[in-house]
Each structure stands twice: as structure tokens, then as C-alpha cells.
Symmetry: C2
Subunit: 168 residues, 2 copies
């Protein structure tokens, strides 16, 4: 397999993985492309490599920047903007975890809090099942939140080293 084929396959695979996890396929592909590019790419480069429109390229790059995964780079003597992706996969992972926590977990925690004070007969098994279900989920979500927080602060090697030793 040569480089061009490899790149193509990787971009495809990353896009598929992303889409299964609720991330726009194209956004994941742009990310993949930038991850394996040693130098920053322009919007034109991205459009060409992925065969997508200018608007699409622009939007997805902007989203990647919002996610903290990509940065704008300016080359001196050039008016174009170039884009560069964080390549340390550990940083990428923690950044994604952080964002998803903020965007998707925290809102649910808020709703769960409100749901804890449902009024009703404590002897009604429906009420009981509801309250117990909610509180279990809340406990879980709170722990997940704490674990994630800590992971985000931890360094890659230290974290995995410690975890793996602990769990060997």
C-alpha cells in the first residue's frame, strides 16, 4: 500500500468511526486529513483532497476549531488562512471528552436533578422505580463526570501506567 491509498483509507475509516459516534462524517474526515498532514492546509487544499465544497470545508473546519482540535495558522506573506491539527492523540482524546462532557453530559445532569423531586406516593411501585432509576443514573453520571475530569488533568503515560498496573 502506498501513501495515497493509505491516506484515503485512513480518512474513510476515521469518518466512519466519527459518524457512528454522532460526529459529522465530513468533520471527522477533515480532522483525519489534518492529523496526518505535517504542514497546515488551506481551505482549498481540504476542498481538493476531500472533494467537498468551499462552504462545507469552511463550516467543518470552524467546528473543529470550536472543538479545540484545530488551529488557524498564518503564513507570512500570504493572505490565506491555513489549518493545523493537534497530533498528540492523547490531547485529542481528552479534548473530545471534555467537550462532549460539557455539551452532552452536563445538560442531562441538570434535567436529572429536577427529576429527583417528582411528587407521588412512595408506595406506588411506579414512583419507586422511577425515583430509583433516576437516582442510579445520576450517581453514575456524577461519577463518570468526576472520572473524566481527572482523566483530563492526567498525563497520558502516567494515567495508563497507573491504571494498567492497578488493574493488571
Amino acid at each position: 500500500m502506498n501513501l495515497v491509498e493509505g491516506k484515503e483509507q485512513f480518512i474513510q475509516a476515521w469518518g466512519t468511526l466519527g459518524s457512528k459516534w454522532g460526529i459529522n462524517r465530513t468533520m471527522a474526515q477533515v480532522h483525519a486529513l489534518l492529523m496526518i498532514s505535517p504542514d497546515p492546509l488551506s481551505t482549498e487544499d481540504i476542498m481538493q483532497e476531500l472533494n467537498i465544497s468551499r462552504g462545507n470545508a469552511n463550516m467543518n473546519v470552524r467546528d473543529l476549531i470550536d472543538w479545540g482540535l484545530v488551529e488557524k495558522v498564518h503564513k507570512s506573506g500570504d493572505r490565506k488562512e491555513y489549518f493545523w491539527a493537534e497530533k498528540d492523540i492523547w490531547k485529542v482524546t481528552t479534548q473530545v471528552a471534555k467537550e462532549r462532557k460539557k455539551r452532552e453530559l452536563e445538560p442531562v445532569l441538570k434535567v436529572l436533578d429536577q427529576l429527583s423531586n417528582v411528587k407521588g406516593d412512595r408506595n406506588d411501585k411506579n414512583v419507586k422505580a422511577f425515583v430509583e432509576g433516576i437516582s442510579g443514573i445520576k450517581r453514575m453520571a456524577t461519577n463518570a463526570d468526576k472520572t473524566l475530569e481527572t482523566m483530563i488533568k492526567a498525563e497520558e503515560n502516567w494515567f495508563f501506567g497507573a491504571i494498567l498496573k492497578l488493574f493488571k
Copy 2:
């Protein structure tokens, strides 16, 4: 807030969370409904509570069974099938992690393995960036895999207790 309102809100919230993580909104809603139902529900019950068609109810229940989150229950003297969901949120979490690992992470690991042997000039920075990018991701994915494996085997309290102590 009374029980009916609470249920509705929870089902909505769970559906939204699911859809953001690439899980069919309705599947997540059926799951939510069953999670807070003390007794098993029939297809009819589900159709009525969620206002969905028979086919839709059937398909999503079947998917939940495939994911190992829901079981068929037979009531004696009744030909209908009833459905019951695992309510221990820890078991739910590990089961989901297990399935997603199998369905979505492992296929990517396979592709990454093949991509490691891209032919090309090692001095070409494009080749270098590609090979390094891939190997970093592979390392990460393998570690995630191992960590997940262990989590799956661990018991809820023990796991979180250990993690929290370690990371205090």
C-alpha cells in the same frame, strides 16, 4: 412535578442524549421507558406510551435485545411477549461499552493494522507524519481497549472507589 411529567421528561432527555452519541433516538426512548417501568411492557404498551408504530416498536426493541440491554419475558397464560430492561445502570454502561468496542473500535483497529505498512520514503515528511499519526492512534486505541476490558470485568463500587482514591 408528577410522575407522568417526570417520565416524559426523562424519556425525552435520554432520547436526546442517545441521538447525540449516534444511537437512534427512539431506541434510547424505548430503553428509557423500560428502565423506569417496574414491570415488563408489551409492544402495545410501548407503542402507546411513545406514540410510535408497531414496526418501529418491534425493530427498536429487537435492537435493544441485540445490545443486551433488554430481555423478553413471557407471562404464563398470555401469548404476548413482554420486555424488561436491565435497571442496574452500571451493567447498562459496561454492556454498552462492550458492544461499542466490539462494533466500532475493533474494526478500526483492524484497518489501522493494515495501514502501518505503508511503503514509502522514510525521509518524506508526509510519509513520516502518516506513519507516526497512525501508530499513535493505534497505541491509544489499544490502551483504550485494555482499559475498557478491565472496566467491564470490574464491579461498580470497587472500580470507582479505586479510581477516586487513586486520583484524589
